[in-house]
Symmetry: C2
Subunit: 176 residues, 2 copies
């Protein structure tokens, strides 16, 4: 089994082709369980998931998003967020934080199981696409399809994009 | 080394006491490197980190936040976000998403190395605390101390809070 640091290093935004290998529901379960176990503000668990492995639905989501990696994917996880406000802190919402933490867990699980994916987000913010995907999947109107994760066995070798050096992004004790 | 699924299961919001064991900078480097390797919108890497291992600074951040786990911690990671807009999509920002994904990687790395932490966030949104911590650490005014992560060796055994069942949070292909 892949250790956590290896998974963090190997995870990358994969935009290549996938092999014909399907993604069995047993693996999709493990992958989404990883998302379920992510932290959430006040443990309100505001993120839900639609796991799409119907080829016709995947094709239609590919059309809506205009995203080639979505069209090519063998399965797809739609991460659905909801604005849930903690009773003791009703001025706050952790909708985006919760959904993003769950997504990162899912991406690491995908990597550990030998699949590849890419965090598709900005694309959904244009041309009403999030709502159109939500409508296709029957997501209630009080929820948002915030992130879509295509899944498949990568047919090409890719790597994580280069990151800035530690010294450029981290400091000890004081900013400068 | 802990595998990724084990780290995801063991990660929990730890609010207990810490032992006297310090957190060596070698481990803090590995932990923050995990955050640096998280995905970010357009790879803009909008999250930066202040690693605090100065006991006086930790005590002062404990006072500002009024958080006992912060006061007790042996080290502390301040996750600092910035609104960075992609040139090709200037209407978008991934500030919260990026910071949350980095935070989740950091929490998994903390868990894998035998430490414990808790995602402190809502607390910083009250009483101008985020800005006060930022000022103490010299964080530029165009950045936000969004999340603070106390780190130490847990003195007590705790576990992840219960999560809703898979069936309550996930569906295949259609919402209902």
């Amino acid at each position: 089994m892949m250790n956590v640091f290896e998974a963090i290093e190997k995870r990358h935004s994969y935009r290549g082709a996938f092999t014909d290998a399907p993604v069995p529901r047993g693996d999709l379960l493990k992958i989404v369980e990883a998302g379920i176990r992510a932290p959430s503000g006040f443990n309100l668990q505001s993120t839900e998931f639609v796991i799409v492995d119907d080829a016709d639905l995947i094709a239609r989501i590919g059309e809506i998003t205009g995203n080639k990696t979505v069209s090519r994917s063998k399965a797809l996880i739609a991460c659905v967020s909801q604005e849930v406000r903690p009773p003791s802190a009703p001025e706050m919402s952790f909708e985006i934080e919760d959904c993003s933490a769950a997504t990162e867990n899912i991406l690491l699980a995908i990597t550990a199981l030998g699949y590849a994916s890419v965090w598709i987000d900005g694309c959904l913010r244009r041309e009403n696409r999030a709502a159109r995907v939500g409508e296709l999947l029957g997501v209630p109107e009080d929820r948002t399809v915030r992130i879509v994760l295509p899944v498949g066995v990568p047919a090409e070798e890719r790597a994580q994009k280069e990151k800035k050096a530690f010294e450029q992004r981290a400091r000890y004790n004081k900013w400068s």
